[in-house]
C-alpha cells in the first residue's frame, strides 16, 4: 500500500515540492492536497501583471485540473485545514478527518494589517491572492475611482502601478523617507519615486497613517499630520507574517515561523514544512527563489534521500513595466568595505556595488539592470574581482569603454536649463555660441553675457566649454565641495536651481555624487542650499547639521552647552534679567557672561537640562538667540536719540526692528549687524556684515565688513531716507546673499567674489528686483521664523536630549 502524504496549502512552495516528488517517483505517495483558496496552484508573483492587465489569470495557472488528475493528486480546494492531530496522525477540516503518514505544511504567510481605526471597513484590501486582485479590479471599473496604497515596498508599488494602469487615481503612503528602503538605498529610492511620479502616481514618504475614515466603507485616509486623502479603496501592503497558526496549535516548535532543520523537517519527524511559513536558521523568506531551493530538499527528504538546504541569498526586482531596478545582498557601508558608484544623470541610471575583500557583497541598480544577474552570480560565487576592479561597474560586456565622466552632470542638463541666473542665459544659448566660435570664457561672456555678472556660474560655463569642445579646452582647476563630487559649491547651487532639485538624493543623483550618501562636509552645505532654495517644500534634515544647529546651543569643550537668549537690540529689563538669574541658579549654571554681542550667555548647561531651561526662559518671553546658527546673530545698537545728546535717529528702535524682521533666517554663514546713532559709531557698525550709521538726513548702509579672522571696514552700499526703506534694503541684501553665496562664506567673502556693483544693482537700483527679493525673504520667514527652543521644550522632542536609558539605576537594584 502507498504511504499517505497530506499537503496543507496549494501555493507556490508546495506546488514545486509536488513537481519534484512526482517527477522523481510517481508512486511514492498517495497525495491529498488541501487549499484554502477555491482553486489550484497559480504563479502568485504574476498577480501584478494580471492586475495591470498585461496577463490573464489563465496564463498564470501553473497546475491545472489535468495535471492534478494525471498525477493522481486528490484535490480538496476551498477546504481549510482547521487542526492537526499529531497523536492520531490526522488533519481535520469541516468535512472530517484525513489520515497521513507524512504531512507537509506550506501555508505561506498572512498580510500584515496595521491596527488602526477603520482597518475593518469595506474597501480595505490586502494584496495576496486572486480574490484581492478581483476586488481591486472591481473598484477600478468606476471612472475616477481613487486608491490609496499603504506601503511603498515591492507589493505596494506593484499594486499602485497596476491600479494606475487600470485608470485609478493612486496615492502611495510610505512610512520611511525613501521607497523600498530595505532593498534600495536612498539614491535608487529617489529615482524610483521620480519614475512613479512621472506616471502620475502620488507618493508621500514619511507618511504615518493615523486612521482610515468612513462610515460603512472607506472614504479617506487620515495621516498623523491631519492630511486627508480621499479613497474608494485602501490597499494595505505593509508586510507579511509567516502563517504558523496551525503548526503552533499542534505544538510544533515555532519562532517567527515554523522551525525546520536543513532537511525541512519540523520538530515532529513526520511533519515537513516549506515556503514562507518556515523559519530556517533564523531566516524567514518572502521570495520564491529560496522556496524553490527548499522544495527540492523537501522532496528528497520525502523520498528518504539525504539532502540539506543551507539558506539562500536573495535578489529583488520590481515587476512594473518600464521600471528597472535590481538589488541583492548587503549594501550597507562598513569598515573595510568600498563602494563603486556609477551615475548617469542623462539616462537616470544609478549603479552601486559594495565590495569587501575584493568580493561583491551588495548590489543596487536602477535604470539599467542588464548586468544585475551577472553581478549577482559573482556575489553568490564569492568571486575575486581584483583583476577587473577598474572596469567592474561596466559589467561583463566592458570592452574599453570610457571612464567615469566628471562632466556628466553638465552634459545631462536639458537645453533650456538656466546656467546664468543673472542674465537668464540657458544652456542651448551658450552651446550655440561655443559651436559658433566662442571658444574661450571671455568670448562666451562677450557673446552671451553668461558669467559676466556675479560670476558664480563660471564653473558651469567652463564645463560647457569642455563638454562642447572636448580635449581642446583646458579648464581651470576649481575646488570641488568635497571628495564626494567634482563640482564646486557654485556649480551645485546653480544646478539645484536650474534642475529644480528638491531633495538630497535628487542632488546626489543628478549631480553625479561619487558616494551613496555624502559626508560631513557636503551634507550640511546641501541641507542649507535646499532649505534656502525651496522653503516650504524641502524638509530640514537635522542629521545633516552640525552639532550646535542640531541642538540649538553651542557645545563646550567638556560636552556641556551654552544658552544665549535673544536681547532685541541689546535692550533688556528687570523681568528678563530676573528670569535669567533664576534659570542660572536652578540649573547650576557655572558661568554667566556678558557677550561681545550685547547679551548674556549661560555657559556650562547639561544637554539634558536644555529643554527645561529653555521652557523657563520662554515663560519670561525670552527666545533663542541663535548664537549657534548660520543665521542672524545679533543686531548691536547704541542708545541713539532716546538718551544720547549726539543721536540723530532712533538707532535702538531701528536695531530692534531689524532683529525682529530677520531672526530665524538661515544663511550661508552667520550674519551680524549693528546700528549706530551717529558717526561716532558706538555700536561698531563699520565692521559688521551689515552696519547702519544714522545721520541727520537718514541712514547710511554699509555691508561686507569683518572683524573676526579678517578685519575689514564695511563698504558703503547706499543711503536710505527712511527706516522702512533701510529695512527693505537690508532684507533684499540678506536674501541675495542667502540665494547665491557659497556655504560658509561670510558676506564680505561673497561680495568680494560677485562685486559690490552687482549687489547694488539688484538690491538698490532695480526696484523690481529689490521687491522680489524682499517678497522671497518674507515668504521664507513664514516657514522659518519660529522659536526652535519653544518647539523642543515640549515633551516629545525634549526626550531626544535625555539619555535613552539609565543602566546605573539597574545596577543599584
Amino acid at each position: 500500500m502507498r504511504r499517505k502524504l497530506v499537503v496543507i496549502g496549494a501555493g507556490m512552495a508546495s506546488g514545486r515540492v509536488l513537481e519534484d516528488l512526482i517527477g522523481a517517483d510517481r508512486d511514492a505517495y498517495e497525495i491529498t492536497l488541501f487549499g484554502a483558496e477555491p482553486r489550484g496552484n497559480y504563479n502568485r508573483i504574476m498577480l501584478s501583471p494580471v492586475l495591470s492587465g498585461e496577463k490573464t489569470y489563465e496564463e498564470i495557472v501553473t497546475h491545472d485540473g489535468d495535471w492534478y488528475a494525471n498525477n493522481r493528486v486528490v484535490c480538496r480546494f476551498g477546504e481549510k485545514v482547521e487542526t492537526i492531530d499529531r497523536s492520531r496522525k490526522v488533519v481535520v477540516t469541516d468535512n472530517g478527518e484525513t489520515p497521513y503518514d507524512k504531512l507537509l505544511i506550506a501555508t505561506g504567510s498572512q498580510p500584515f494589517i496595521i491596527p488602526i481605526p477603520g482597518k475593518d471597513l469595506d474597501g480595505v484590501l490586502s494584496y495576496r491572492d486572486l480574490d484581492d486582485v478581483n476586488a481591486m479590479l472591481m473598484a477600478a471599473e468606476r471612472p475616477g475611482a481613487k486608491a490609496v496604497v499603504i506601503g511603498g515596498g515591492l507589493l505596494g508599488l506593484e499594486a499602485a502601478a497596476g491600479l494606475k494602469a487600470r485608470g485609478m487615481e493612486v496615492t502611495v503612503l510610505h512610512l520611511m523617507p525613501t521607497l523600498m528602503e530595505r532593498q534600495l538605498d536612498p539614491a535608487a529610492g529617489y529615482l524610483l519615486q521620480k519614475a512613479l511620479e512621472g506616471r502620475d502616481i502620488a507618493v508621500h514618504c514619511k507618511a504615518n497613517t493615523h486612521e482610515i475614515v468612513g462610515t460603512d466603507r472607506v472614504e479617506a485616509v487620515r495621516l498623523d499630520d491631519g492630511t486627508e486623502i480621499p479613497a474608494d479603496i485602501v490597499v494595505m501592503a505593509v508586510g507579511i507574517r509567516p502563517d504558523k497558526t496551525l503548526a503552533e496549535a499542534a505544538g510544533l516548535a515555532v519562532g517567527r515561523g515554523v522551525h525546520v532543520d536543513d532537511a525541512m523537517v519540523t520538530s515532529d519527524a513526520d511533519i515537513l514544512a516549506v515556503g514562507e511559513c518556515v523559519e530556517h536558521r533564523d531566516m524567514c523568506y518572502g521570495l520564491v527563489a529560496p522556496l524553490y531551493d527548499m522544495a527540492k530538499v523537501a522532496a528528497r527528504t520525502l523520498l528518504g534521500e539525504a539532502a540539506a538546504y543551507e539558506g539562500s541569498v536573495t535578489s529583488t526586482k520590481l515587476k512594473v513595466t518600464g521600471i528597472d531596478l535590481f538589488s541583492a545582498g548587503d549594501f550597507a557601508d562598513r569598515d573595510g568595505r568600498e563602494e563603486i558608484v556609477f551615475r548617469d544623470a542623462t539616462r537616470g541610471v544609478y549603479k552601486r556595488l559594495v565590495l569587501e575583500d575584493n568580493r561583491i557583497v551588495g548590489i543596487v541598480m536602477y535604470g539599467d539592470t542588464a548586468d544585475g544577474t551577472w553581478f549577482f552570480g559573482q556575489l553568490k560565487d564569492g568571486s575575486d574581482i581584483s583583476e577587473m576592479r577598474d572596469t567592474l561597474i561596466f559589467g561583463p560586456a566592458y570592452a574599453g569603454g570610457s571612464p567615469l565622466d566628471p562632466m556628466a552632470a553638465v552634459a545631462a542638463l536639458p537645453d533650456e536649463a538656466e546656467i546664468c541666473g543673472c542674465n537668464g542665459i540657458c544652456k542651448s544659448r551658450i552651446v550655440t555660441a561655443i559651436s559658433g566660435g566662442a571658444t574661450s570664457l571671455d568670448a562666451v561672456r562677450a557673446e552671451t553675457k553668461a558669467s559676466s555678472s556675479c560670476g558664480t556660474c563660471t564653473g558651469l560655463v567652463e564645463q560647457l566649454l569642455a563638454v562642447t569642445l572636448g580635449d581642446s579646452y583646458e579648464q581651470q582647476a576649481a575646488r570641488p565641495v568635497c571628495g564626494c563630487t567634482d563640482l564646486t559649491h557654485e556649480d551645485v547651487r546653480r544646478l539645484i536651481k536650474a534642475r529644480a532639485l528638491k531633495s538630497m538624493p535628487a542632488v546626489m543623483q543628478e549631480c553625479g555624487w561619487k558616494t551613496s550618501c555624502g559626508c560631513h562636509v557636503c551634507r550640511p552645505a546641501l541641507n542649507y542650499y535646499l532649505l534656502s532654495d525651496w522653503p516650504g517644500e524641502y524638509v530640514d534634515d537635522p542629521q545633516s547639521r552640525f552639532v550646535n544647529e542640531r541642538n540649538h546651543a553651542n557645545i563646550q569643550k567638556d560636552g556641556t552647552f551654552s544658552v544665549v537668549p535673544r536681547m532685541w537690540g541689546g535692550i533688556t529689563n528687570p523681568r528678563e534679567l530676573r528670569a535669567i538669574a533664576d534659570a542660572a541658579e536652578r540649573y547650576g549654571v557655572p558661568t554667566v557672561k556678558v557677550t561681545g554681542g550685547q547679551r548674556i550667555d549661560l555657559l556650562g548647561v547639561r544637554k539634558e537640562d536644555l529643554p527645561a531651561i529653555w521652557a523657563d526662559l520662554n515663560d519670561a518671553g525670552l527666545v533663542s538667540g541663535h548664537a549657534y546658527a548660520k543665521g542672524l546673530r545679533t543686531v548691536k545698537t547704541c542708545v541713539g536719540t532716546d538718551h544720547c545728546r549726539f543721536g540723530t535717529q532712533d538707532s535702538t528702535g531701528l536695531g530692534i526692528a531689524i532683529e525682529k524682521r530677520m531672526w530665524g533666517a538661515w544663511t550661508p554663514h552667520k550674519v551680524k549687524m549693528a546700528v549706530s546713532g551717529c558717526p561716532r559709531n558706538c555700536a561698531e557698525s563699520t565692521c559688521k556684515d551689515v552696519g547702519v550709521i544714522c545721520v541727520d538726513s537718514g541712514f547710511e548702509i554699509g555691508v561686507a565688513g569683518a572683524a573676526g579672522m579678517d578685519l575689514k571696514e564695511t563698504e558703503p552700499l547706499t543711503k536710505a531716507a527712511t527706516e522702512a526703506e533701510t529695512l527693505e534694503i537690508i532684507c533684499a541684501f540678506v536674501q541675495l546673499y542667502r540665494e547665491n553665496a557659497k556655504y560658509l562664506d561670510r558676506p564680505y567673502k561673497w561680495v568680494a567674489k560677485v562685486g559690490l556693483d552687482w549687489v547694488r544693482e539688484r538690491v538698490v537700483e532695480d526696484l523690481e528686483s529689490r521687491a522680489a527679493l524682499v517678497a522671497r525673504f518674507d515668504f521664507s520667514q513664514q516657514v522659518f521664523q519660529h522659536d526652535p527652543w519653544a518647539e523642543r521644550a515640549r515633551a516629545e522632542p525634549a526626550r531626544q536630549f535625555r539619555p535613552l536609558a539609565d543602566l546605573t539605576m539597574e545596577a543599584a537594584e
Binding site: 557601508d333 562598513r334 551634507r523 542629521q543 545633516s544 557645545i555 569643550k557 544637554k607 526626550r799 539619555p803
Partner: protein, 111 residues
C-alpha cells in the same frame, strides 16, 4: 554567553543619529545608520573627549562634533591620518527593541 538587556525602541534613535545611555562604565552612545544598523561606542572621543553622540553620522562612521575626527562605528578606530580608539560594545535589535550587553549595567568593583 552574552546576557541582553532592553534599553528602548530602535525608533527612539534618529536615523543617521545617536542617543546616549548612562551605564556603569560611563556614557555609551548608541548609533543608528542610514541602513538601520546599530552600534554602541563609548561616548568619548579619543582626541579630547568630545561627545561622539553629538556628531554627524555618515556611512558607518561618525564625525566628532568638537574637532572633526572621524571614528569608525564598527571598530572604534580613528580614520584617515588620525590615531585613537574608542571602546565598542555589543548591541543588537530584536523585534524593534534595542538590546545591549547586561554587563553595562553592572558596577565593576575596583580590585
Amino acid at each position: 554567553m552574552t546576557e541582553w538587556i532592553d534599553i528602548g525602541s530602535l525608533d527612539d534613535v534618529p536615523v543617521r543619529g545617536s542617543r546616549v545611555i548612562r551605564s556603569a562604565i560611563g556614557c555609551v552612545a548608541v548609533f543608528r545608520t542610514a541602513a538601520d544598523e546599530v552600534f554602541a561606542l563609548e561616548d568619548r572621543c579619543p582626541h579630547k573627549g568630545g561627545p561622539l553622540s553629538d556628531g554627524i553620522v555618515h556611512g558607518r562612521s561618525v564625525t566628532c562634533p568638537l574637532h572633526n575626527m572621524v571614528i569608525s562605528l564598527e571598530t572604534g578606530l580613528a580614520q584617515g591620518a588620525d590615531e585613537g580608539e574608542v571602546k565598542t560594545f555589543k548591541v543588537r535589535v530584536e523585534g524593534g527593541r534595542l538590546l545591549v550587553d547586561r554587563s553595562l549595567a553592572r558596577r565593576v568593583e575596583a580590585a
